[in-house]
């Protein structure tokens, strides 16, 4: 944990009138992220997949591989374009929704975004060269131009996640007289929450993109298309996704323990743990009752929470009552999101295990139609887990935008009339989502 001296409460850097539209601002931010992040998964994972297939083509000369690689790279370019515009919206929203936050802290965390910008630049450049260079570049050179895409996709997400990690584990500045002073950007960037978030998100990219693409080909398989093309596509995407899914559980455990150390109140919200408890039990399902301060109708497993969070069945776990009520996140939202993610994550890991056991013992895909039906369902479920994970992290951090330093309500804009903007944004995103789905269906039908 970074030592941070916050002598006085933070005061406003800009200052202005009242800030009436906090709710809308939060909704707009959440909505925009929920649109951007699924696209990002493809930016992270798809390049590795089409490059892998192109590598197979270079080794074997088999045209099936090339057809797949060309196809996937075209889809990736389109999704990348949509990722770029939705990412740009997020950048605008930093200023449009959270000017106080930016004015106070841009100097502290901005550097990560500067590096992010560089990565996206490189990604955009090589994406264009790769997709438009199929015809005229030599096969080897063409393959090589794919490598920077993979690296910059990772670097880009790394830098954004560094910022999110910093919001959860702020450091690299001091607060004196209510002002943010002495920014130390590099210290801010390499915070303690970053490591697990980066790995968890990176794997999530493979899980989400892998299962969604595999789902498309599984559907074709179920409809009876079992040629080499579909078979190859299935084996490649499932290998990526099914390898990532079990590892994701392990990294998730790491994430939970890291949260236990740094943000005990957030962990208490994950679990609906009202009072600091020794040998705390883990409750599956149920609803947290604010009046009674306990989870009702859940299945309780004694000592499991202490075991999971601290790897010791009798460890003491901090409860929500360690901070005053106004400093606690909304428990049910966070808890429901967390349990959804963990439930889906466990299911996906099992699916991955089935795939690998079959492949390892029999060198073939599972035969059961249920396996393919499960894969079709796995894509949307992975997406749900992804969004649920971000709700866990972001809503779990509330009421803080910068953990224990700046409240979200301090950060928001004074501009009025965000309702109009919110409605407009919802409509635009609905149009965008239907446009993208429509296009993906077109592309999928073409085989």
């Amino acid at each position: 944990m970074v030592d941070l001296v916050v002598a006085q409460a933070l005061s406003e850097t800009l200052g202005g009138g009242p800030q009436p539209d906090l709710l809308e601002a939060r909704q707009m931010q959440a909505l925009s992220l929920a649109v951007h992040i699924p696209l990002v998964c493809f930016g992270i994972a798809f390049p590795a997949m089409f490059l892998f297939v192109e590598g197979l083509y270079l080794r074997t000369g088999d045209e099936t591989f090339k057809r797949l690689a060309v196809k996937w790279s075209k889809v990736a370019l389109t999704l990348f374009a949509v990722g770029v515009v939705t990412g740009t919206i997020l950048s605008f929203e930093f200023g449009l929704l959270w000017p106080e936050f930016m004015a106070s802290f841009g100097q502290v965390f901005g550097i990560a975004f500067a590096l992010e910008g560089i990565s996206f630049f490189v990604e955009a450049i090589f994406m264009a060269i790769y997709v438009y260079g199929w015809q005229r570049l030599s096969p080897r050179v063409h393959f090589l131009t794919g490598i920077p895409i993979v690296i910059s996709g990772f670097a880009g997400s790394f830098n954004v996640i560094a910022v999110n990690g910093w919001m959860n584990d702020p450091g690299g500045f001091d607060v004196v007289g209510g002002r943010v002073v002495d920014p130390r950007p590099w210290e801010a960037m390499f915070n303690d929450a970053m490591a697990h978030e980066v790995f968890h998100m990176y794997l999530a990219g493979y899980v989400v993109a892998g299962f969604i693409v595999a789902g498309v080909y599984s559907a074709a398989w179920l409809r009876g298309r079992r040629d080499k093309y579909v078979h190859t596509a299935l084996v490649v995407t499932l290998s990526f996704a099914c390898l990532a899914a079990p590892v994701q559980v392990i990294v998730g455990d790491w994430a939970a323990r890291s949260v236990t150390q740094r943000q005990p109140v957030k962990l208490a919200a994950f679990e609906g743990l009202a009072h600091t408890t020794k040998g705390a039990s883990f409750t599956i399902g149920g609803v947290f009752d604010e009046d009674e301060q306990r989870v009702r109708w859940g299945i309780e497993i004694p000592h499991l929470l202490s075991l999971l969070a601290e790897h010791d069945p009798n460890a003491t776990i901090t409860g929500l009552d360690s901070v005053p009520p106004e400093d606690r996140p909304p428990v049910n939202v966070v808890r429901f999101a967390f349990q959804t993610m963990v439930g889906i994550g466990t299911g996906l890991a099992l699916l991955g295990a089935v795939f690998f056991l079959t492949w390892w013992r029999r060198r073939r895909l599972p035969r059961s139609r249920w396996f393919f039906r499960a894969v079709v369902a796995a894509g949307p479920l992975a997406l749900v887990a992804l969004i649920a994970g971000w709700i866990t992290t972001e809503v779990g951090r509330q009421p803080w935008i910068v953990y224990e330093v700046m409240r979200t309500e301090q950060a928001v804009t004074s501009a009025d009339g965000l309702e109009t903007g919110y409605v407009a944004l919802v409509l635009v995103y609905l149009a965008l989502a239907s446009g993208v789905l429509w296009m993906l269906r077109r592309l999928a039908r073409q085989g």
Binding site: L14, G16, G17, V82, M102, A103, A114, A128, Y132, G435
Partner: protein, 351 residues
């Protein structure tokens, strides 16, 4: 010194976006005005042909500017975005439409779908430069005070200077696009299109020049400080360079020397961006916030420079590679006249 360097970087980003980005918007403008499916087919084909490989890379310059400003000049960033929230939000919506429609249009199955997407693409190509130009006008004419949305939400961008710069943004973009597309058509060996775009380049260039001159009068009455900055010292020098380069572009285009015309046109834009910076010196947000007051502490600025410096080592060769491949035609797709569905028109119309 550090604040000036960071400002210069932001200015480089703005210039690059104003040249490359607005040329993309201008291309959308010519797409919008190309006429019906048959008549406009060849123009649309050329627009698609020229833009496909580069538009994403061009777009990143905008991100670059945002990032540099919010890191190096955070207070200015917060003030600008909260006061100018309406035009910037509109620009953001336009950006979604434009990118998405451009990306999706190739998949349109019927002419109706294509018309909707095409119109969306093209009309947002007008909306974005206008809104961004209007925002710049608000800053330059001193209508963005320091504070969380403390400026007037409407008059900060609906005022004579803003409207002028917004309209200039649209027209200049159209002009740049026509200059570039004429050169691209020459490379693709489409002489009739060279001619079509040359006419467009000359027309829009003359219009842009006339607007700029008339605009000086508008600025004189609306934003006297800005006018004085543009008509004295370094500001004046930049304005003159920009004007000369503008005229130079027209001469080159008229003579059919399209490749050099590209660069001279870019110089014209770069000079006017620099002129704007000089004209409002020493302020970042006139008339209160100076550059030095606005700048983040040196540790941050140094980190920005170090980060971008390291980045440039990777970025500059990559950009160089991209533009070299583009200019050599390695990334060219086959040129085809396209209807609004972006599918090839009938064979007999190809020649």
């Amino acid at each position: 010194m550090l604040p000036e360097i960071c400002l210069a970087l932001a200015m480089v980003g703005i210039t690059a976006y104003a040249v490359l980005g607005s040329a993309d918007f201008g291309a959308g403008f010519w797409d919008l005005t190309a006429g019906g499916a048959r008549r406009g087919g060849r123009v649309r084909g050329m627009v698609q042909h020229a833009m496909s490989p580069v538009w994403e890379a061009n777009h990143v310059w905008l991100i670059f500017v945002l990032v540099v400003v919010w890191t190096a000049f955070p207070v200015a960033f917060g003030s600008i975005f909260s006061t100018l929230s309406i035009p910037l939000f509109l620009a953001a919506l336009g950006i979604i439409f434009r990118g998405a429609a451009f990306a999706l249009r190739g998949q349109a199955g019927t002419i109706r779908e294509a018309r909707v997407l095409g119109a969306l693409f093209a009309s947002s190509s007008v909306l974005i430069p206008f809104c961004l130009g209007a925002a710049i006008g608000g800053i330059a004419s001193g209508r963005v005070p320091v504070g969380n949305a403390t400026g007037d939400v409407w008059s900060s961008w609906l005022n004579p200077t803003s409207v002028l710069i917004g309209v200039l943004g649209v027209v200049t973009g159209a002009h740049l696009a026509a200059v570039f597309l004429a050169a691209d058509s020459r490379r693709a060996g489409q002489e009739d299109l060279v001619h079509a775009f040359r006419t467009r380049a000359l027309g829009s260039g003359v219009l842009a020049g006339a607007l700029a001159l008339a605009g000086l009068l508008v600025v004189r009455s609306d934003a006297r400080a800005l006018f004085d900055g543009l008509t004295s010292g370094a500001g004046l020098a930049c304005v003159l360079v920009s004007g000369a380069a503008g005229v130079g572009t027209l001469v080159l285009v008229a003579r059919g020397r399209h490749e050099p015309a590209r660069f001279v046109a870019a110089v014209s834009v770069a000079a006017i961006v620099a002129g704007w910076a000089f004209a409002q010196r020493p302020y970042l947000l006139p008339p209160e916030l100076t550059l030095d007051e606005a700048a983040a502490p040196d540790a941050t600025l140094a980190a920005v420079l170090a980060g971008l410096g390291i980045g440039a080592v990777i970025l500059v060769p990559s950009l160089w590679l991209l533009y070299r491949l583009v200019l050599r035609g390695v990334l060219d797709q086959r040129f085809e006249p396209l209807d609004q569905r972006f599918t090839t028109l009938d064979k007999d119309e190809r020649r």
